[in-house]
């Protein structure tokens, strides 16, 4: 069943079949942005959480589901009713200074995120015994070919195919036999791990929340919706697409926690997802361990294409370039060149011997903390812009209260995370 129908189709009578077909035609951006959110950094965060605290932090995930949905729904709605990307709207409605500042921040943090995605591919390649000097360039070429087909629908179909591979996380989670009773209890009853409230725990909670809502996601979904030219009548289906994506991202995150939890139950040490895969060979076999590494690569590549596209779309919107996946490379040369440059440069950094990858990981955390709050504030102001949206599509008061609460939480956590990384001694118990 294809989510992206390529031709005009008609269904007799209305009802369920028509609504289903309509949904399948509209779905894509919400699912892709959410599944791509479980990128290499997320795999690392969720598995580490499971390895260090078991399923004790599982309750965070159901709380994050509505949070991520509400934020992404706002950008989907803005994209549909304005036909513009978020970078374009910030630039047009708040002026060139804010527009360029936000864009510059986004490009820097996106590039550094991209480096971490390729670092994960290199890590998985090493563990699989493959030469990273071959795997990294091939991955970069594949990512460039993925978008350069001149067809939005082809890109969407291929990317949804990569998203579909994430079903394997459920199989792997089932194979490590989680303790379902305690997992279910932990998912609905907040509790502290046995180690109590420590700096490490605080850092982990912030990392889990931070990995669920990243700046690139907001820009990506709005630009994607605008590029797909979703219509006013598609808003309901786009919301369902986003809800399904949010449920998928949280369910897959839980599966990753279960894999880490298998180490926790066996009192095995955790270093990174590649080492975790090796440690789980007794439970999963060599095929299962290899599957974890392949899924890590898939997560990194999905994240890489989404992050690079959000940069290229945003830059094109502000610069006034043609920036659509519907265009051939010759018709939108700057758009594709920027995408390819981001991918190639990030791959090149990872291939540099002794590249300071740990510093880059820290920089991503800090800059995300700097970039996310302003973007959320602009988003909030834009969805309340009644001059542009009118009463029908602007936020309702209840919607604003929910969104303000989400923004306040994210603002506080982003600030704490950035301060924690920048000034480690600021929080005495922090690592």
């Amino acid at each position: 069943m294809s989510f992206a129908t390529t031709t005009r189709r008609a269904v007799q009578r209305g009802g369920f079949r028509r609504r289903l077909l309509h949904f399948l035609v509209v779905a894509g951006p919400g699912l892709i942005v959410m599944v791509a959110d479980n990128d290499a950094g997320a795999v690392s965060t969720y598995t580490q959480s499971g390895a260090e605290y078991g399923t004790a932090l599982l309750w965070l995930l159901p709380l994050l589901l509505p949070m991520t949905y509400f934020v992404q729904e706002m950008v989907a709605r803005l994209g549909i009713v304005t036909g513009e990307g978020l970078a374009a709207l910030i630039h047009h409605r708040f002026g060139a200074w804010w527009g360029r500042f936000t864009l510059a921040d986004l490009l820097v943090v996106n590039f550094l995120t991209l480096v971490t995605e390729f670092a994960a591919v290199a890590m998985a390649a090493r563990q699989l015994g493959l030469p990273q000097g071959v795997v990294i360039p091939l991955s970069a070429i594949g990512l460039i070919l993925l978008v350069g087909t001149g067809s939005y629908r082809r890109w969407e179909r291929l990317t949804l195919g990569l998203c579909g591979l994430n079903i394997a996380w459920f199989v792997l989670a089932a194979l490590v036999h989680p303790h379902w009773d305690s997992a279910l209890a932990d998912s609905v009853r907040p509790r502290l791990p046995a180690s109590g409230l420590t700096g490490n725990l605080m850092f982990m909670v912030i990392a889990i929340v931070g990995t669920t809502i990243a700046p690139w996601q907001l820009f990506f979904q709005q630009s994607c919706v605008a590029d797909k030219r979703l219509r006013f009548a598609d808003l309901k289906a786009a919301r369902i697409d986003t809800v399904i994506g949010a449920i998928a991202v949280i369910a897959i995150a839980a599966c990753m926690m279960f894999l880490g939890d298998a180490l926790h139950r066996g009192a095995l040490p955790y270093q990174d997802p590649a080492q975790m895969a090796a440690a789980l060979v007794p439970d999963l076999g060599h095929a299962g361990a290899a599957l974890i590494l392949l899924l890590l690569c898939n997560a990194a590549l999905l994240g890489a294409t989404a992050v690079s596209l959000s940069s290229a779309w945003a830059w094109g919107e502000v610069m006034g370039w043609r920036n659509t996946l519907q265009a051939k490379v010759s018709e939108a040369p700057q758009f594709y060149a920027l995408y390819a440059l981001c991918v190639a440069a990030a791959a090149g950094v990872v291939l540099i011997p002794h590249a300071p990858l740990q510093v880059i990981v820290l920089a991503v955390q800090v800059l995300s903390g700097v970039v996310l709050p302003p973007v959320l504030v602009f988003l909030h102001l834009l969805v309340n812009d009644r001059e542009m949206l009118g009463e029908r599509f602007a936020n309702r008061p209840w919607n604003n209260w929910v969104n303000l609460a989400v923004i306040a939480i994210l603002f506080a956590l982003s600030a704490v995370l950035a301060a924690q990384v920048l000034v480690p001694g600021f929080f005495p118990s922090a690592v």
Partner: protein, 65 residues
């Protein structure tokens, strides 16, 4: 509404990329948003936040990350 039209008992479901372009709510003539006092306070706070974070970053880089 361009997506669904009742015609000869059929409800056509048209892919957005195959459909006629809709007129959207954003128009370039809107120009810049009218900034209220509350919004100005928010934007000033935002500038303060950004300035303090960048100062922290600069301090951290200068003292060795």
């Amino acid at each position: 509404m361009s997506e669904t039209t009742l015609r000869d008992g059929l409800f056509p479901v048209i892919h957005p990329l195959d459909d006629v372009r809709e007129e959207k709510l954003y128009r370039p003539e809107l120009g810049r948003m009218r900034i209220t006092r509350g919004m100005r306070v928010v934007l000033t706070l935002l500038q303060g936040y950004l300035a303090s974070m960048l100062l922290l970053l600069a301090w951290r880089v200068l003292t060795g990350m």
